[in-house]
Symmetry: C2
DNA sequence: GCAATACATTTGCCATAGCAACTATTTCAA
DNA sequence: TTGAAATAGTTGCTATGGCAAATGTATTGC
């Protein structure tokens, strides 16, 4: 008797893992007095590496959609972390910048994030990471076309 | 020169994978005329296997918190998929049941879900699944204590 | 038997997310 | 060069999710 291929409920595993990751980020930010949500951190990280990119670029780089980025930026601008400046030669677009305060916050959060990444990968190897990325990329591309 | 351990941004990979999984579920449900969100499906699946469990049990089984389950059930009850009945001997608790319509919907959705699971794991092996669960469980437990 | 405590669920508040429709601007094409 | 289509961003609507506080019910200790 051969085994049938059994459908695997990987979604639930991914979901619960993501939830606990986010909870740890949130808790750590609060502990060190950084007023950031995990998603705000994601955008900050993009901005720190590419200051002045557009909202669309931010959206693509973070797998968020445009309305979500627009709203997260509303809050970040309100907190003084970021700033919108119009393109000179395309008045539809903004360039998004980290403010001084945004950079300070980034630098305060970064070591916390690095610690969390190390903590999360504890007891796992470089080889495990290769497996992990290969598998997740495969799942992603399995779902990509539709 | 030794390599330093490099912190790994597994969170972003997990996030984007979960997003595309959910998008595929949503799309597939719409295509076959099943009026369910992915999270409603998760609760239905629990209920189908354990009809009559409490909201707390549903929450624990799905890694959702109690308010979220309460609200998802509000919508599911409104759609006629589920039904709340009070415990006889503990009037704080509800037993949650799939209605007739809920079961029909479940049976309509199940083959779609199985197809999606197979699709998502295409070009991946049983051994990959062992890697996957081991790695995700390790990440989870790395973050568990706090 | 009653006060303190625990428990199950709900409500309020806020943030993220997806979709569709809308506005403003730019580009393209006949 | 003007009208159609594309592009960037916003707004409205709905759903999920996390936290804290509130409500109603049960249990426990005295």
């Amino acid at each position: 008797m051969k085994d049938q291929p059994v459908s695997k409920n990987f979604g639930a595993i991914i979901d619960r893992t993501l939830k606990i990751i986010k909870a740890n980020y949130q808790k750590a930010f609060i502990e060190v007095g950084v007023d950031l949500t995990t998603e705000q951190w994601v955008l900050m990280d993009s901005l720190f590496k590419n200051n002045g990119i557009s909202q669309n670029d931010l959206a693509n780089g973070s797998f968020k959609n445009a309305p979500t980025v627009s709203r997260i930026l509303d809050l970040m601008c309100k907190k003084g972390l970021t700033e919108r400046r119009r393109f000179e030669n395309d008045r539809r677009r903004y360039k998004i910048f980290l403010t001084q305060f945004g950079e300070e916050t980034y630098k305060k959060a970064l070591p916390v994030v690095i610690d969390l990444r190390l903590k999360g990968w504890k007891n796992l190897s470089e080889e495990d990471y290769q497996h992990f990325t290969r598998i997740m990329d495969q799942v992603f591309s399995n779902f990509e076309q539709g």
